[in-house]
């Protein structure tokens, strides 16, 4: 007798349900059919409660405790000490004037702010341009959409390995640039010749801004497709007749863009802005694997500071990490409210 895979799967599916049917039926006869809703909700609420809400409350408490123990009862209350250590800086703009924890915190904060303020506008502009291009009547649109989206599927570690391999001092990027300069010098007259190319240590050269540049580039490279896709969906939701009507009235293309495309795309743009900003403030994986926060502290981000305070080294400073988390949460909250306010104002218009 031959077993069809589909039949086997159906049998498995049914019996899996039937195994649980007995106990569930018993509960139902006990509490009544309409209260079964609570039973269905229970696993979710348990997990949420235990691993989201409870930790959130716990975080506030841990922020006021010191010591190195993971057991709550063994953690002495230290009042505002953790916050004092993070915030007691003669000058916030120069983290070197702070204490050890403050140095790490403010370096991470400024780096993250810089990262977010450069990366988010860059990402939105490039994602919008790409979405507008893909919204044109081009051949093989599905293929192109897949190409841009593919990096989103890659894990941060894979992305970091790929780019680290390219950006090594003796990697392919330097080799290509060197070859390009060589070729240029070979075919151009003397007065246009360039100096010989000297390989740059893209991710290690501390004095240049290259490490931060590549961190921003690689992060944008990895996430662009996601935002492009959302914007493309927004563009495709704009009714075609609007453009046809504008065409009839002789409205210029640029006017159509400013008066039709952009206003109607605004809700999508705001979603993209909120998502990308919140994500940018939580950047960790790609950067941590690519540069480890280096050279020195040049690309050390906020979350890396929290992670390292709590989990790296001999001194596990859970209190400092939790206090930093509270400050980051406050920052994120302020940002979210600002965005909500902006959105509401826009919606009011």
């Amino acid at each position: 007798m031959q077993v069809r895979p589909q039949a086997a799967f159906e049998w498995l599916w049914k019996s899996a349900g039937d195994v649980l049917d007995g106990p569930m039926r018993a509960i139902q006869s006990h509490i009544g059919a309409h209260r079964m809703a609570y039973v269905f909700l229970l696993p979710n609420l348990l997990v949420f409660g235990l691993f989201s809400f409870w930790p959130m409350l716990l975080n506030f408490y841990i922020a006021f405790t010191g010591g190195q123990s993971v057991i709550l009862a063994d953690r002495p209350l230290v009042g505002l000490d953790n916050f004092r250590e993070l915030l007691a800086c003669p000058s916030y703009l120069d983290p070197r004037t702070c204490g050890v924890a403050g140095y790490s915190f403010w370096t991470g904060l400024w780096n993250t702010l810089f990262f977010a303020l450069v990366q988010v506008p860059l990402m939105i502009v490039v994602a919008l341009a790409t979405a507008l291009i893909l919204n044109r009547d081009i051949r093989a649109r599905g293929f192109w959409r897949a190409v841009y989206f593919y990096p989103v599927m890659l894990s941060p570690v894979v992305v970091a390995v790929i780019w680290d391999w390219i950006l090594k001092r003796r990697g392919i990027l330097n080799a290509t640039l060197e070859k390009a300069v060589e070729t240029w010098n070979a075919i151009t007259p003397t007065f246009l010749m360039m100096a010989d190319y000297r390989a740059i240590n893209w991710l290690i050269d501390a004095r240049s801004g290259w490490p931060m540049f590549w961190v921003i580039f690689v992060y944008t490279w990895a996430h662009l497709g996601f935002y492009m896709l959302i914007l493309l969906a927004g563009l495709q939701a704009i009714p075609r007749d609007l453009y046809e009507a504008a065409q009839m009235d002789g409205t210029s293309k640029s006017r159509q863009f400013w008066r039709i495309t952009l206003p109607l795309l605004m809700p999508t743009m705001i979603v993209v802005l909120v998502l990308s900003l919140i994500r940018a403030f939580q950047v960790f994986d790609e950067v941590y694997v690519l540069t480890g926060g280096g050279p020195g502290q040049a690309t050390k981000m906020m979350i890396q500071h929290i992670y390292e305070s709590a989990f790296i080294g001999d001194a596990k400073r859970y209190g400092i990490a939790a206090a930093s988390s509270v400050l980051v949460a406050l920052l994120l909250m302020v940002l979210t409210f600002l965005q909500l306010a902006v959105t509401r104002k826009k919606a009011g218009n």
């Binding site: 139902q28 909700l41 997990v47 341009a129 391999w165 640029s254 495309t261 929290i306």
Partner: protein, 356 residues
């Protein structure tokens, strides 16, 4: 500026290509290079020999220098192409250097060793993909000490499969309760669950770690799986979908004395299959690629997932670049296969829900 906008928004005219179409395709091809070349370069590099990787051979194909067994039983001798003074060439095997010259013999004639200037020698190379980069760490013949691929692969697969199954069931149950029952506090509960979206997982790292540690789940794969299975996005997605399933179906089943569980399992789940498959794809992607949470929970290498193993392996100073690249390719292969076969579902699922 106006020109740029016009170029970006213009649709293709009839007849021949407008200049803006040229610009469009130029943009597409340029970005194709930026997106695809880095990934291609890793694929191509992953079959190169360790020597080629150490030298950072910039050529596309995996060239390896030919070598022949030494007639005296020593190390293999490299093969070079020797260009004679008259311009003819001959393949020679390299015996040893002597000053600026090299002592070589013509292949097949190991008895007549002669001296030639080293500048007249060019490596004799063949294209030879080195599949051992893939087979050695996986099949275990000369398994790298620090990279136990099969174990990491199994751990990753276990986490991904278990977490996805549990995510589907737990969130479908919650979505069912929130869409098909009227009970006190339902809306408040739905709101609370969606509000968890606002708690960034990154800012509860420390307390979550302590909770997981007090439950004894550190260095256990369940410590990675359990905290992630209740996703607000999943609940929301499934609830919205289940709202479209007509209540009459449920009523009819209740007439036939089906239990509520049976209704859920036999009617709701099969009907919600489209939404479930979107969530399944997303969950597989999330869990397979997850890095930060496993990094905190798992500290012993026996329980590492592939991502942790790779990042640790990358962080070590080693000359195992050939293994690292090959294992990176193997790590991205599963999501790539998922992507190739389910591309339409993934892109439309993400575009519709705005989730990643």
């Amino acid at each position: 500026m106006g020109d740029v906008i016009r170029f970006l928004t213009r649709t293709r005219g009839r007849g021949r290509l407008h200049w803006s179409d040229w610009l469009t395709y130029a943009y597409l091809i340029l970005s194709l290079l930026v997106v695809v070349l880095p990934i291609m370069w890793m694929f191509l590099s992953s079959v190169k020999s360790p020597a080629a990787l150490v030298e950072n051979d910039p050529r596309i194909l995996p060239y390896t220098q030919l070598s022949v067994p030494s007639p005296t039983g020593g190390r293999d001798q490299n093969v070079f192409v020797h260009t004679r003074a008259d311009g003819t060439t001959v393949d020679v095997a390299f015996v040893n250097p002597r000053g600026i010259n090299a002592r070589v013999y013509e292949l097949g004639k190991p008895d007549t060793v002669f001296e030639v200037p080293r500048t007249s020698l060019a490596r004799k190379e063949v294209v030879d993909p080195r599949w051992e980069n893939y087979t050695e760490p996986t099949l275990g013949s000369t398994q790298s000490r620090t990279f136990n691929f099969l174990r990491y692969f199994w751990n990753s697969t276990f986490v991904t499969v278990m977490a996805t199954l549990l995510t589907l069931i737990v969130n479908a149950m919650a979505g069912f309760a929130l869409s098909k029952y009227k009970f006190r506090g339902r809306d408040a509960m739905a709101l609370t669950i969606v509000a968890t979206l606002l708690i960034p997982p990154t800012v509860i790292l420390v307390p979550l770690f302590m909770t997981v540690s007090s439950l004894g789940m550190l260095n256990s794969l369940w410590g990675v799986i359990i905290p992630t299975i209740a996703t607000p996005t999943g609940v929301f997605l499934l609830r919205q979908y289940m709202l479209t399933i007509p209540d009459e179906l449920l009523e009819a089943a209740r007439m036939d004395a089906a239990s509520e569980w049976k209704i859920f399992w036999r009617i709701i789940l099969p009907l919600a299959l489209p939404a479930l498959s979107v969530l399944a794809i997303l969950s597989v992607m999330w869990r397979w690629n997850d890095f930060m949470w496993p990094l905190i929970v798992l500290t012993q290498s026996e329980v590492f997932t592939l991502q942790l193993g790779l990042s640790t392996f990358k962080g070590e100073l080693n000359d195992n670049m050939h293994y690292l690249l090959a294992m990176t390719v193997l790590t991205l292969l599963p999501v790539t296969l998922v992507f190739v076969f389910l591309q339409k579902h993934i892109t439309s699922g993400i575009a519709n829900t705005g989730l990643k």
